[in-house]
């Protein structure tokens, strides 16, 4: 019998249900794990995503024909049953479970196993075949615990605020930016946001996700009145002319990046920020391994990241592992030229 899911040049395809998962070329029916640009593309005739992911997708893709589904709810499509399960990556992100006659495949999109206090936490789903990313699929990637991150972030911000300096941090507009907001200790000072971040904040607040108060940076905002603020920007915003306004005469802003790549000293130095916080919405090495083990799957497909190394590792651990080529992009600290793919 043919594989339940196959890998095509348009995306992950389910013939028995005639739909695609996270396709990157126009198709009739797209099941989408989450709203990041490398997973939710324009041009599909019909979309299906979780109710929590839907508002951001509408915001980003405009007028689309979008049907929603709740976590755990089952839906019959053609000869298969599909359901969406929390992936813990960003609010509303899902692993998509596909079942036919007791055989279960799961396409996990992007995921992380730690609870970020914002997204519905990752839930392992038992399956026969598991499709996984491997953005950080090397044993050198181990994330800083959430509590320690909060402590480091707030200590950095407080020290800058005490000197009357702005604290500029670069993070993806969807996911990481809000995670920083929830970690920030608002007693230190006000929080300013780049437009791209604030637009996403507004969408999330409107759907009932609690975020601390933020102030959108506009040309006429009185910066003096907000000296010492935390400024949350997109990574390209941080490097560009937009950020220069925060260099108050003789008191340049302190800059930081939040990314899993900050685990590598070389990348930290390349980005030339004052600080690098090791923070990712993708699974680290222990996370990937734990997630894969908990699925009980024997067959593993690796989509993006350190694919061939990770496949060899899985094989040495007794799995049947394959590398499949996709257009998913993982986490990029250099998002400037490629749009936001995460």
């Amino acid at each position: 019998m043919a594989d339940l899911l196959t890998f095509t040049d348009r995306g992950i395809y389910c013939e028995a249900g005639d739909f695609y998962i996270d396709p990157w070329r126009p198709v009739d029916r797209a099941l989408v794990t989450h709203g990041h640009a490398d997973h939710a593309h324009e041009g599909m005739a019909r979309y299906l995503a979780t109710d929590i992911a839907a508002p951001v997708m509408r915001h980003r893709l405009g007028e689309i024909s979008l049907d929603t589904i709740r976590y755990g709810e089952t839906r019959r499509i053609g000869d298969v049953t599909v359901s969406f399960h929390p992936a813990g990556h960003v609010p509303g992100s899902a692993q998509i479970r596909v079942e036919r006659k007791g055989e279960v495949w799961v396409a996990s999109g992007d995921y992380k196993t730690i609870d970020d206090g914002l997204s519905t936490p990752f839930e392992p789903v038992r399956c026969d075949a598991f499709i996984t990313e491997s953005t950080f699929g090397l044993p050198v990637f181990k994330w800083t615990p959430q509590a320690e991150l909060a402590r480091d972030l707030n200590a950095w911000w407080a020290a800058n605020a005490a000197e009357g300096r702005f604290s500029l941090i670069g993070a993806y507009a969807l996911g990481k930016a809000q995670r920083i907001l929830t970690l920030a200790d608002t007693s230190i000072g006000p929080i300013l946001t780049h437009g791209a971040v604030e637009n996403t904040n507004e969408v999330l607040r409107a759907q009932g996700i609690a975020l601390p108060d933020t102030i959108r940076v506009t040309p006429d905002l009185d910066l003096k009145a907000h000296a010492g603020a935390l400024v949350v920007a997109t990574p390209p915003g941080l490097g560009g002319p937009w950020a220069r306004r925060f260099n108050v005469a003789g008191n340049p802003a302190s800059t930081a990046f939040a990314s899993g790549w900050m685990a590598l000293r070389g990348v930290r130095r390349r980005r030339a920020a004052d600080r690098g916080f090791i923070m990712s919405d993708h699974a680290d090495w222990p996370g990937l391994n734990a997630a894969i083990r908990e699925t009980g799957a024997r067959k593993i497909f690796v989509t993006h990241g350190y694919t061939s190394i990770f496949r060899r590792w899985l094989e040495s651990e007794g799995f049947e592992a394959h590398v499949v080529s996709t257009e998913y992009a993982g986490e990029n600290v250099d998002a400037d030229d490629e749009g936001e793919a995460a």
């Binding site: 050198v140 685990a263 070389g266 590792w313």
Partner: protein, 534 residues
């Protein structure tokens, strides 16, 4: 070692010089003397020798981390640094403790004298007692690979702030061949003993590249000489001995034994700044010839005969035991001429001929002759300039010839490591040969980070084939490759190898069929191949 780790993080995490200096000055005010001494030693490149092979360290780290060795080996080039890879794969420390830097250095030396089993136990125990940064630093010290993103100049500035000793004076005190074993903090920094420093060199004065000759102003104020393509060196004759220092503050005395004869020709109490050059028939040998001698601690007779060296004198820094760096260059140079003028030809010394300066145009013409004279360009020195230390703008300029260039197409790409992990930065370039393409060089540098990101995105989408980490890409993007020299190389398919190749420009304007050919490269080899003068 927490205090030292904090200092390392502080200078490593910021790009701002003021912050780096402030962090170092604070450290030099507070740390214990033994740690300060080691810190100055480490920050000025005086690393303890590697006492243990990297191979066993990887094995022990992989074993402790519970991963197969091949996986460690895959991660290492991506991280780009062995000690960092080790410290990242190891499980978190179980019993962190804070001992001074000097304690851990002593521990490394103690372990180096023991057998393998005891070393392993000691190193695993140390890894288990150190936090992440401390562990990285300890491992770097073990592997002899400690480096820090701070120049000696900045460190000296911080030390001057902390001790209130004049910065130039401190720069001089810290030079030379001392190690933390044969000196104390007090005698190094506060009370130097003059007899103990007979071999101590002066800080080198370095020049910036001249971009705009008009900036020189009145040509009459300038003196010019050739910029020779050898090894910059400082020859010291003091107390009956001679010492030869490199610009990187390395003693090269034993590598160039022919210079010992200088003791027969010049008086003690003389220090000369010059260039070590391969020399035959009163002309410089190609840099190739000198290169054969560079990596060698001792020199076989055959090589001594094939590639003898001389010192080409540029400047006189000390005469009759007196520091004359404050005198005007014209005066120092006149004294050097007087010392060197009448030496017999067997003396391994020549005066670097002065190039007369009449006008900017005439200087430009002289510069254009550089390649045929085996020089890299011109050196311009203001006649009234003192001998300063470090790289300073204004009084001295180097005016190098333009690099040789060739337009070539990128055919292979490989991801970088360390600072450039996850970006494609290492490229192989090809020229045309009939209907085919012949790869002829690699190049890593010369593009901006934004350009590297753009090409990285393109490589991901235009890979034809993968060979391990190397991607064969569509021949499409043309680059102007600049290089300083070209040599025949039977090991390369193209038959040539380039010196200092780098990307000068991304030629978006140039189509693939207009790139240079293998024949063009062969003509350059014939013209500049460098063997002619040997």
């Amino acid at each position: 070692m927490k205090r030292f780790a904090e200092l390392f993080r502080a200078v490593d995490q910021t790009t701002r010089t003021t912050k780096k200096v402030a962090a170092m000055a604070a450290y030099f005010r507070e740390a214990p003397d033994a740690d300060k001494l080691w810190t100055v030693a480490l920050f000025s490149g005086r690393r303890p020798r590697r006492t243990i092979t990297a191979t066993v360290l990887r094995e022990w780290a992989a074993e402790r981390a519970g991963i197969p060795l091949w996986l460690f080996e895959e991660a290492y080039p991506i991280v780009g640094d062995l000690a960092e890879t080790i410290s990242l794969v190891l499980p978190p420390a179980e019993a962190e403790e804070d001992r001074p830097l000097s304690h851990w250095i002593d521990e490394i030396r103690r372990l180096s004298k023991q057998d393998d089993a005891a070393r392993k136990a000691g190193i695993l125990a140390a890894w288990d007692r150190l936090g992440p940064t401390e562990r990285l630093l300890f491992t770097k010290l073990l592997t002899g690979s400690f480096r820090v993103g701070v120049s000696q100049k900045l460190m000296t500035r911080a030390l001057a702030q902390a001790t209130e000793i004049d910065e130039a004076e401190l720069t001089h005190r810290l030079m030379g061949s001392w190690t933390p074993d044969d000196i104390t903090w007090h005698s190094l920094v506060h009370a130097p003993d003059p007899t103990a420093s007979l071999s101590r060199p002066y800080p080198f004065y370095l020049a910036y590249q001249l971009d705009d000759p008009e900036a020189l102003g009145d040509p009459a104020q300038w003196m010019a000489e050739r910029k020779w393509d050898g090894i910059r060196g400082q020859l010291i004759l003091r107390g009956g001995d001679h010492h030869l220092w490199s610009r990187g503050e390395e003693l090269m005395t034993d590598r160039f034994p022919e210079l010992a004869r200088m003791k027969d020709f010049l008086p003690m109490g003389t220090v000369i700044d010059g260039e070590v050059l391969g020399w035959g028939d009163e002309v410089p040998l190609s840099f190739n010839a000198l290169q054969k001698r560079i990596g060698r601690k001792t020199v076989p007779k055959k090589l001594l005969a094939e590639a003898p060296v001389i010192l080409m004198g540029y400047d006189l820094l000390e005469q009759d035991g007196e520091d004359i760096r404050a005198l005007p260059f014209a005066e120092r140079r006149a004294r050097l001429d007087a010392l060197g003028r009448d030496l017999p030809p067997e003396a391994p010394f020549r005066l670097s001929p002065l190039v007369p300066v009449k006008s900017l145009d005439q200087l430009a013409e002289e510069r254009a002759k550089s390649r045929e004279l085996m020089a890299e360009g011109l050196m311009l020195k203001r006649a009234d300039s003192p001998y300063l230390s470090g790289r300073k703008k204004g009084d001295w300029w180097k005016w190098k010839v333009d690099p040789l260039t060739i337009d070539a197409v990128m055919v292979y790409a490989q991801a970088g490591s360390g600072r450039r992990a996850n970006m494609f930065t290492d490229f192989t370039f090809a020229v045309r040969d009939g209907n085919g393409l012949v790869p002829f060089t690699k190049a890593y540098s010369g593009l901006t980070d934004a350009e590297f990101r753009k090409i990285t995105a393109w490589v991901r989408k235009n890979t034809l084939e993968r060979y391990g980490p190397v991607r064969h890409v569509k021949p499409e993007h043309v680059f102007e490759i600049g290089f300083e020299g070209i040599q025949p190389s039977p090991r390369h398919k193209s038959g040539v190898s380039l010196r200092f190749p780098r990307m000068l420009r991304w030629r978006h304007d140039k189509p693939l069929d207009e790139i240079n050919t293998l024949e063009d490269l062969r003509q350059m080899l014939a013209a500049y191949g460098g063997e002619s003068a040997a």
